[in-house]
Amino acid sequence: MTLIAHTFLRRTGLLAPAVALAFAGMAAPALADRDPAYAAARASGQVGEKTDGYLGVIGGGADVRALADKINIQRRANYTQRAASQNATVEEYAFTQGCMLILRTAPGEKYQAPDGSWQTRGGGAPQRDGRCP
């Protein structure tokens, strides 16, 4: 994005602050999405969605584990807050979230089947717990 923007700016010679602001505005929503390292770890199958609503580490080094730990801590805080507002336990909320996260995995990403084994998401529906909605 930034590279394209720079090339565009160089070619057209438009360096007005208004143009720069317009590009900054376009780039902003991307910051709220997944961290590039996290997106890469998901795509390469180093991390996967577990049935309990947290990330599991399948491969990679200490950096991948640290990344998964960080996100899982954030997830737990989020589940705790959401569960309280829904009068549910953290485990119940996390499990339900896990059902949805497994359903939303993209083809090629890893997820945990009800028997605990790691599966690669294919084109069809993932294997999920019988209680999943």
């Binding site: 309990d52 989020n78 549910a88 119940e92 059902c99 949805m100 717990d129 209680r131 909605p133």
Partner: protein
Amino acid sequence: MKCLRLTVPAAAATSLGMKWAGQVGSIVVLLAGSAAVAGCISVNAPDKPIVIELNINIKQEVVYRLADDVKQNIDANPDIF
């Protein structure tokens, strides 16, 4: 494996006459055998890991009730999912 030895095999047989020696000897062997069975406890470790199912108490009705909220949660927090 160490087993308890309750009887001395030779003592009983030698004090009796030769007529009964064989039978007494076999009884002693039998007794020693049953003592060995009763005194030794063998414990075998299971070959599969013990899995404790922590999600067993989560009811399906609760999962269905939370279904809409978890969908909204993904949209509200795309960075952690």
